[in-house]
């Protein structure tokens, strides 16, 4: 005989505004085994919780049914409440009267109240069959895998390493630094990007708690939160990192020219090269698709080997695979820049003087292809008219609907830099739709741009053309003056937005991290859990979760580190007991459960039974997510899902239909 307490929450007016909570409470009192039935404005509040605890202590309530909002909101809260009063927390049942009733049937209060009654009846029926369960503790690795070595990955790694965690930082490029290393200056302070970034990069390389793996990729992830087994592939550099001193003698003698990716293909590098001026590690690397010896697999060239005084070239270097065990993973894989040639009418790719914003960064950078001089790519002379065009590929149903968040600030910065760097008269225009300068110091930065004689046109052009002699021209209508402006620029910078990494499909699968509809990685809750992915133990940092600027990236990176520390610092975690459990005596070893399990959480273990080897299913508790597929697939009923046994579920269904059945058995 159970003693059931039913608590109906008003949730302010959220539930009570539609459902007649009094009627539901009165109804609950009529159900068998219900000894207490109350309603209250906010059950999750302190007095609400105390009400439940008092009833547990004084009225010896031993099953608690709370009719309130979604269990996703407060199930944990109420379990803790119940546990504090000395009752097993898994003897709690949440009935959803908000998302399932008041929010879904806002305009039908009478029917909503009837539905609420039925749901409570179902909850009560099930609560009779709930069993006490215990959480289990597993030990966890106090180490973290950080995927991606841009500013997000760098910040997260330093925070974790400083907190005493071992960090494996995996970066697919030959150097860490990411996008931030490609920037000239950063808004709104106009700090030199490399100057504020490189000290952190060096810290990462030197930190005794960080294992830096560049030119590497994660190839496999097994295990579960707290106990991940990760395979990392170190691709060969064909250069011994312990011997190479970064002198670049090899680069000077290599005969093969290769487009320089760091400079967005605006200059040339060699088949053996150092990633960039601020590379960390500052070690050479050979590109096997271009190197004559490696591409042709013949004993040719080898000039770099001859020139190298440290004897560091190793054409026979092989890829290496590392296996590491980590407790948590932070995904900081960054994003890519929108390919403006997709907006064919703007002429990117057809006309040399039309460039993207990242290409402008490289031009502006003193370490870039033009030595920091702003020059029109066509004639290599300083431009007399520069136009920035916003929202290229963003806020556009044809490409990406979202706002890229950084485009306006980037163009303001670049316009200001152009004004500062080019001597002599230059007309600088920014064609915008809405100018977004939302952060700290950002609107002041916008004002600074206006102070510097930068003209803002409220409108964007439809197309850009070129005369036969190569001069660009376009028309744009300005909202403010109501005039059609005919512009003849010698440099057009397209404000191209950030888009999801083309790798994200692979990453999403590898790490079980879902993606949102815009293609970026999905956070656990848009408002309250922006640093965690949908999978426990996998955290998100930086623009892989959504386009963002450096301050937001650094904040999120440190936050992700804190979350990982929170999860792993005690050295153990508790596992929810709502898992599958096998009754070995009923298991026939048919393996159906192993096949259907999407989390690879079932192992077939051999046993000797009556002299014969039989296989029995065993659930790997830590990996089991309690989805129930095995339970419904098992032909003998040997697998039971805790709190979701066949009996518990069928009882709920019967309770749903019971009164209808009772009414004259029709």
């Amino acid at each position: 005989m159970t003693r059931i307490g039913v608590y109906v929450c008003h949730c302010g007016l959220n539930i009570a505004g539609v459902v007649d909570v009094e009627k539901v409470t009165e109804y609950a009192k009529t159900l068998p085994d219900v000894v207490v039935a109350k309603h209250y404005t906010y059950m999750c509040s302190e007095p609400g919780q105390r009400m439940i605890q008092d009833n547990i202590k004084n009225e010896r309530v031993d099953r608690v049914v709370i009719a309130t909002c979604s269990p996703r909101m407060h199930e944990e809260t109420f379990r803790r409440t119940v546990a504090e009063a000395g009752l097993n927390p898994y003897l709690t049942e949440i009935v959803n009267l908000r998302e399932h009733v008041s929010w879904a049937h806002t305009h039908e209060p009478e029917k909503a109240t009837e539905k609420a009654k039925i749901l409570v009846r179902m909850g009560v029926a099930r609560s009779r069959l709930l069993e006490p369960l215990e959480k289990r503790k597993v030990s966890v690795e106090k180490s973290v895998l950080v995927v991606g070595g841009g500013i997000a990955g760098i910040q997260t790694s330093l925070d974790l390493a400083n907190a005493g965690f071992r960090v494996y930082l995996v970066e697919k490029a030959p150097s860490i630094g990411g996008r931030m290393a490609q920037l000239d200056k950063t808004f709104p302070t106009l700090d030199c990007s490399a100057c504020i970034l490189t000290p952190k990069m060096v810290d990462v390389a030197k930190h005794r708690n960080i294992t830096l793996l560049t030119n590497a990729e994660v190839t496999d992830v097994k295990g579960f939160v707290g106990n991940y087994e990760v395979s990392i592939l170190k691709k060969p550099r064909y250069v011994d990192v312990n011997k190479c001193v970064g002198c670049e003698l090899c680069t000077k003698v290599c005969p093969v020219k290769v487009p320089d990716r760091f400079n967005e293909n605006m200059s040339e590098n060699r088949a053996i090269y150092i990633w960039s001026a601020h590379s960390v590690p500052k070690t050479a690397i050979i590109n096997p698709s271009y190197c004559l010896r490696l591409k042709l697999n013949k004993d040719v060239c080898g000039k770099c080997q001859t020139a190298c005084e440290a004897n560091a070239i190793d054409f026979k270097q092989q890829p290496e695979t590392l296996q590491v065990r980590v407790g948590g993973i932070v995904l900081a894989v960054g994003s890519e820049v929108f390919d403006a040639s997709r907006v064919a009418e703007l002429g990117y790719g057809r006309f040399k003087n039309i460039i993207s914003s990242i290409e402008f960064e490289r031009i502006s950078d003193a370490a870039g292809p033009t030595g920091g001089n702003i020059l029109s790519p066509k004639d290599k002379k300083p431009p007399k008219t520069i136009v920035f065009i916003q929202c290229v590929g963003s806020r556009d149903k044809r490409f990406h609907e979202y706002c890229c968040r950084v485009g306006c600030m980037v163009s303001l910065k670049q316009a200001i830099l152009a004004r500062e760097k080019i001597h002599g008269p230059v007309k600088i225009y920014v064609c915008y739709i809405d100018l977004r300068a939302f952060g700290k110091g950002y609107d002041e930065f916008y004002r600074r741009a206006r102070d510097m004689d930068i003209d803002f046109i409220a409108g964007v052009p439809s197309e850009i053309h070129s005369t036969p002699d190569g001069s660009l021209y376009f028309d744009v209508y300005d909202k403010g003056t109501n005039k059609l402006l005919e512009i003849r620029p010698d440099l057009v910078v397209l404000g191209t937005g950030l888009v999801p990494n083309s790798d994200l499909g692979k990453i999403s699968t590898l790490f079980h991290a879902s993606r949102s509809s815009d293609g970026f990685l999905l956070e656990a809750h848009a408002k309250l859990r922006p640093l965690e992915s949908s999978t426990g133990g996998v955290f998100l940092a930086g623009s892989c979760q959504g386009p963002k600027d450096i301050p937001d990236t650094v904040a999120q990176a440190s936050g992700a580190a804190a979350k990982a520390i929170d999860l792993l610092s005690s050295g153990e975690i508790e596992l929810e007991p709502l898992k599958a459990v096998v009754d070995k005596d009923s298991c026939s070893g048919c393996r159906i459960c192993e096949t259907v399990c999407p989390f690879m959480a079932i192992e077939m273990k051999p046993e000797i039974v009556e002299g014969q080897e039989r296989f029995r299913a065993e659930v790997i508790e830590a990996m089991c997510q309690g989805c129930g597929l095995c339970g419904s697939a098992c032909p003998t009923g040997a697998i039971k899902i805790q709190q979701y046994s066949d009996k518990q579920v069928v009882t709920q269904v019967q309770a749903a239909l019971s009164e209808a059945c009772a009414e004259g058995g029709k």
């Binding site: 064919a344 009418e345 197309e463 053309h465 070129s466 005369t467 036969p468």
Partner: protein, 271 residues
Amino acid sequence: MSVRETFPRLDIELVDLSEVICCGDPVKSVNEFAANFLAVRVLALVNLTGQDNLLVPCNRCHFTISEVQETMKNSKSAHKIIELLKQEGLDYNSNIKVWHTIDILHDLVGLEKLRQAVKKPLKDLKVATHVGCQIIRYSDLQRVDDAENPRKLDELINALGAETVDYAEKLDCCGAALTRSHPDSALSLAGSKLKAVQSLRVDGMVVSCPDCQLMFDARQKEAGTTVGTKLNVPVVYYTQLLGLALGIDEKKLGLDLNQSPVDQLQAKICV
């Protein structure tokens, strides 16, 4: 005329409809429902012939009929149109493929077949193309060619041995839609484009729509006056050029009906 002459030589049989009516394009501005009715009626007439493919040599008609196929999929008044047609004994068939001269030649016949059929390669001929507006836009409606970089007409001309040139004004509109309500503006648009083509020093301009041809060819003189330039650009519809390359007699291609100086173009070919 040139369509009727050239297509059979490429193994395409053309079947005329039992009734000839307007596709409904000009009626759109008056009553969209009635315009849709007309376009659907054309498709119902195609249904009578038992053919699955409709050839529409005009850009505006092609757009109108293609758009109505989309409209009929989810319009609230689709059933009303079907009802009206039923009362006339006509049935709407939604499975008819609507072609234009350009894509039926480029995609169905194919460039290889065209090349092999050429008897008089148009060597040393250089032309500008004007593919028009309504067969390249809007791309959500699966048009005949790409909206920003249409290449099919160029490739069809290259297959005949001639060269085509790119120019900034390539996608500019001929202005035909305004020809009756705002004649000066229409002529100004046509004239500006012709002026630009003239400065390319090409042997002519090839169009793919009779409405555009009306502006550039039949009204070239007036257009020239409107923009203050003496215009001297031979303008032909694609199949007229195709016909010449296939060795068909010029009279059968309607070339003596063109008002622009097409004899200059012919002279270059027949040399």
